[in-house]
């Protein structure tokens, strides 16, 4: 080791505690983003590598209605020419039941031909092939179905209007949606039984797919393009295994989006930690710097010297961050294992590691630039006057803030692949930090001027203004991170309380879909209660004011979109749960052309107003209607609602099914479901309360993962606090010793230090809670449209928990100071 390196190493050892905190801050800034980014990359790579298997085909044609004859003809011609093989798949939900009508269950049916799947394998418990066992009259089911209905392989099952024999149990299928989306066990049915099921009626919710295997891989793109020319862009999709977004990918894309938001948020807070800790470390080195300058070292020399020190610590931090990031990436695989296809395994991408290192270097430079620059303002006279104020220019701080803002905007826009989101995030996090900073400044200003009688509290307040105490950065970091964590908690608690725990007593809990119009009377008699039937006509919106819907753009949005198939209905009156927010009546009597009333939620997908014209395509038939009114839903309710409502004379004769929702006592659900599907096998019953419970469990699991990672941001606050306590160790030690010399007991010193940390915790916790309530209230009101509950007890618990954490951290970091005997300290001081 060279002499200079040795000296730098000794400098590190001399400030080992601050150096450790610095290294931890650097590694924390990278860890989560490296983990999430690496996870996203390897998932994407794996999904792409296994894409053929995940879609079970080269080209996938999909539609919500039977394919148009031209497209079917094109596929048939290519198959006849030997360029492709094709196979049909129908998927839909249906309630299946035991033959003695004892029990029933909503299942996910998949009707397949023997050629399915072209890639991958449907794994059966018996070890046989699907094509080998799935013959006419037989079905293959998931174990869950057997367990729930008390059946075994060999038993019969009523599916739709026919009875089929269970011949095997399926354990894996290549193109199956991930577990979390599966509301019901899988049932494989042979294509030869499709007609016998009797479940395909006009308007039924069936997903049609044509899987295509290309003979010559080179022909993949040209063939896909060829089929696209025959497809109806309004309702038929043509994808290759490379372009198709599977359910897994959609879910992961969305989840990773939120994970990356958390990662960037942690990076910002840990970055503040880097700046604050380096500041504290350099404060510790002020004497050394003053000596160096006294002996003739220029500012540039001193800056370069400490830059090397910073680079060494930063390098260790970056390597540690990347290594821990890889560990977290592995943990993510474990935590999300249920939601990932079985073929997906943890793999680390070297490019991800390089990206992590690159981001780490930029973060290190940007966050250390200011403290290193400020070294030039340290004057050699500090050798005599250690606490002399340092007069700094303001422009470097502003320049540094601007560079950081630009970096975060760029980083967010890059990771989210969306400049708008980047702007919102930077503005959001910047706003929270700004509010936290202003409040911290204000509360400290008030505290400084407060007259406190109690000695311990007075000393604690004075302690907050101890030079180098970093009270403000600690408060800002804690407040910002707590605000986000509290907000996630409160939003989740409100959703849970509204929809799950207190499922409204009068809200319908059973939804019945795909009732045929001629089954209404019989259905009403069977359920034996007043029923409101809602006609459902499936259609697509194709244009607003003659401007075609940009489907690609609509599909990219995270919320609902106009790109999907919509459910239209017709009626003449407003529901009790609705009111008009634009237009005087549901329909205008002075317009002769077709009219439509639109729910206000549609306006979030595309701007529109009363008088605008919407073009629909209803099972191939175009319809243009003028918006007569805009409706909104009143209060929080789980009643059925429709985005588009038409007058009866416009849609009354369109192909339709009927939908209704009923309130049924939970213990009567199973019996009613079984009786109903025995009489009407085509009707699907969805138990909303069960579905919501399942969804809530999943949501809780995912939000627990998010929350756990977000909690890492608190670590930044804890690290800054620890660093600040260590940085002011000498002053604290002097205070503690003087208290003791003047007759105070250790208990008094403990009280002062505890109170000091308690003040920081209370101020940051309370502001964070206020901001979290504001944010959660806005989200619940505007996004979920539910009544907001404050959860006073839980809120108090959050603030208390934070106080406990901060006080404990503070006391642990001050332990050595508390233990120090006055005589030892005074002797050390005299020895100089």
């Amino acid at each position: 080791m060279s002499s200079r390196l040795r000296v730098i190493y000794r400098q590190l050892v001399g400030s080992s505690r601050q150096a450790l905190v610095f290294v931890l801050c650097v590694s924390l800034s990278l860890t989560t983003l490296t983990a999430f980014s690496g996870f996203a990359r390897s998932v994407r790579q794996s999904l792409l590598a296994d894409a053929r298997t995940l879609h079970a085909a080269d080209i996938i044609l999909g539609s919500g209605s039977p394919f148009n004859p031209h497209l079917q003809g094109a596929v048939a011609r290519e198959a006849a020419a030997g360029r492709i093989e094709s196979t049909r798949i129908h998927t839909f939900f249906s309630v299946v039941r035991t033959v003695d009508a004892d029990a029933s269950l909503l299942a996910r049916l998949k009707v397949v031909e023997p050629a399915y799947p072209f890639y991958g394998e449907v794994v059966l418990l018996s070890g046989r092939t699907l094509a080998g066992v799935l013959t006419q009259g037989s079905i293959v089911v998931e174990q869950l179905l057997l367990d729930r209905l008390g059946l075994a392989v060999g038993d019969l099952l009523q599916v739709g209007f026919t009875t089929l024999r269970i011949v095997d149990v399926v354990t894996a299928e290549p193109d199956r949606p991930v577990n979390m989306f599966a509301f019901g066990p899988r049932v494989f049915v042979s294509h030869q039984d499709l007609d016998a099921l009797g479940l395909i009626e006009k308007g039924s919710r069936i997903r049609y797919r044509l899987l295509i295997k290309v003979t010559d891989p080179q022909e993949l793109a040209p063939l896909a393009a060829h089929f696209k020319t025959f497809a109806d862009p309004e309702r038929e999709r043509v994808d290759t295994y490379r372009t198709a977004r599977s359910g897994v990918r959609r879910f992961l894309d969305n989840f990773i989006f939120f994970l990356k938001l958390v990662g960037i948020f942690i990076l910002v807070l840990a970055g503040m930690g880097i700046q604050s800790t380096l500041g504290a470390l350099l404060r510790e080195k002020r004497q050394t710097i003053a000596v160096m300058k006294t002996l003739g070292a220029t500012s540039r020399y001193v800056q370069r010297y400490f830059m090397k020190l910073t680079a060494l610590m930063g390098g260790i931090g970056i390597l540690l961050g990347v290594a821990v990031g890889l560990g977290l990436q592995w943990l993510l695989y474990r935590l999300l294992a249920d939601f990932l296809p079985p073929s997906l395994h943890f793999q680390w991408a070297p490019s991800g590691v390089l990206e992590g290192i690159a981001v780490g270097v930029v973060v290190l430079i940007l966050f250390t630039l200011l403290p290193l620059h400020q070294l030039r303002y340290l004057r050699p006279v500090m050798i005599f006057r250690r606490d002399q104020p340092v007069h700094q220019k303001r422009w470097p701080a502003w320049l540094s803030a601007a560079a950081l803002l630009l970096f975060f905007f760029g980083l967010t826009a890059w990771h989210m692949a969306d400049a708008e989101v980047g702007l919102y995030l930077v503005a959001g996090v910047g706003g929270v930090i700004l509010i936290s900073a202003s409040f911290s400044q204000l509360s400290l200003w008030v505290l400084k001027r407060l007259t406190v009688r109690r000695l311990a509290v007075r000393q604690a307040v004075r302690g907050l203004f101890r030079p180098g105490n970093a009270t403000r950065p600690v408060m800002i970091t804690l407040t910002t991170s707590l605000a986000v964590i509290f907000a996630i908690f409160l939003i989740e608690a409100n959703l849970d309380a509204t929809f799950v725990r207190s499922f409204p007593a009068d809200a319908p809990n059973l939804f019945f879909v795909d009732i045929q119009p001629d089954q209404r009377d019989g259905f009403a008699r069977l359920v034996d209660q007043a029923v409101t039937f809602y006609p459902v006509i499936r259609a697509r919106v194709t244009a607003v004011n003659d401007e075609a819907i940009d489907r690609e753009r609509q599909q990219r949005t995270r919320g609902d979109s106009l790109a999907r198939t919509m459910n239209l209905t017709y009626r003449e009156t407003l529901l009790d749960t609705e009111r008009l927010i634009s237009g005087e009546r549901l329909y205008r009597s002075d317009w002769q052309e077709p009219q439509v009333s639109v729910l206000d939620e549609v306006l979030e997908m595309h701007p529109m107003k009363v008088g605008d014209r919407l073009r629909f395509r209803i099972q191939g038939v175009p319809l243009t209607a003028r918006i007569s009114s805009i409706r909104t839903r009143v209060g929080e309710n789980l009643s059925p609602f429709f985005y588009f409502v038409f007058p009866t004379d416009v849609l009354g004769n369109a192909p339709q099914t009927v939908f209704t929702a009923l309130r049924v006592p939970p213990d009567a659900v199973a019996d009613l479901q079984t009786r109903l599907v025995t009489a009407y096998p085509n009707v699907s019953v969805i138990d909303l309360s069960t579905t919501l419970r399942v969804l809530a469990r999943l949501m809780q699991r995912l939000s627990n993962i998010l929350r756990s990672f977000t909690a890492l941001s608190i670590v930044a606050g804890v690290l800054i606090l620890t660093s600040a306590i260590w940085a002011t160790r000498a002053q604290r030690m002097t205070e503690a010793v003087y208290y003791k010399v003047l007759g105070a007991r250790r208990r008094f010193v403990l009280q002062v230090f505890t109170m000091e940390n308690l003040l920081i915790a209370a101020m940051s916790g309370i502001l964070a809670l206020l901001m979290a309530h504001l944010c959660a209230g806005v989200v619940c009101h505007l996004v979920f449209d539910i009544r907001y509950q404050a959860f006073a007890l839980a809120s108090g618990g959050l603030v208390l928990g934070n106080a406990l954490l901060v006080v404990t951290t503070g006391l642990l970091a001050s332990w050595a100071i508390l233990k120090k005997k006055p005589v030892t300290y005074l002797r050390e001081q005299t020895d100089g």
């Binding site: 000296v7 001399g14 000596v291 002996l295 003739g296 050699p380 006279v381 050798i383 005599f384």
Partner: protein, 225 residues
């Protein structure tokens, strides 16, 4: 020949909106090779005067000339070479860099000048103060007297024309204090260096060519030896 000249030096500080005048119109001239002691009661402004004369701090008003160069308004970085080549410092609290060994501390000013013989010179100086065996020890492993002798070597490594010492024996017992003083005076004599020393110690003052007394920030008395 004048090596150091200070004219009407004033230094004020602002504390809680109150202006405190620490030095008030001090003028002083030091000739080449001279040994000047600045003395005065605690709080009289001795150390402040030393920081101004040595260019460690800027005066609020007045001028300072060192070796023919006006330094009172020079920038920090412009003063760095002057502190490195022309001036040496010895402090009461030693101010050795804790992360550097005795040898590295002494070499540091020479290394800033990129002198190839830095180590050779440092070892030679260590030998003259009898600390060759302590070359690789860190300051924390040295006694107070040893630290001050290392600090003395460090001050002399670039053969400065002017040596400033602030209570160099203040933190030492009488035996070590005497040893350091002897070596300081020996080095002054050997290198013909001009010495400006702040002290309370009348014995040291007695050895000076001239004693300057400060009282309430003003020069009260200049006594020639």
């Amino acid at each position: 020949m004048t090596l150091l000249r200070a004219q009407d030096l004033t230094k004020t500080y602002t504390v809680d909106h109150q202006i405190i005048k620490v030095l008030d119109g001090v003028s002083l001239t030091v000739a080449t090779g001279e040994f000047v002691v600045i003395t005065g009661s605690s709080g009289s402004g001795k150390t402040t005067l030393l920081t101004l004369l040595s260019g460690l701090d800027h005066p609020t008003a007045g001028e300072i000339w060192i070796d023919g160069r006006e330094i009172s308004s020079a920038s920090e970085d412009a003063l760095a070479p002057l502190r490195n080549r022309t001036i040496g410092f010895v402090f009461q609290s030693f101010h050795l860099v804790p992360a550097m060994t005795a040898l590295e501390n002494i070499m540091f000013p020479a290394e800033l000048l990129k002198r190839r013989d830095a180590e050779e010179r440092a070892r030679a100086l260590l030998a003259t103060v009898g600390l060759s065996a302590r070359a690789d020890n860190l300051p924390s492993q040295l006694s107070g007297g040893e630290k001050q002798r290392v600090a003395l070597c460090r001050a002399m490594i670039n053969q400065p024309k002017l040596l400033f010492a602030d209570e160099p024996t203040g933190n030492l017992d009488s035996k070590n204090g005497q040893l350091v003083l002897d070596q300081l005076l020996a080095m002054k004599a050997a290198h013909a260096v001009t010495l400006v020393l702040v002290t309370h110690n009348p014995e040291i003052a007695a050895a000076a060519d001239r004693v300057v007394t400060l009282s309430d920030g003003r020069l009260r008395h200049q006594a020639a030896d």
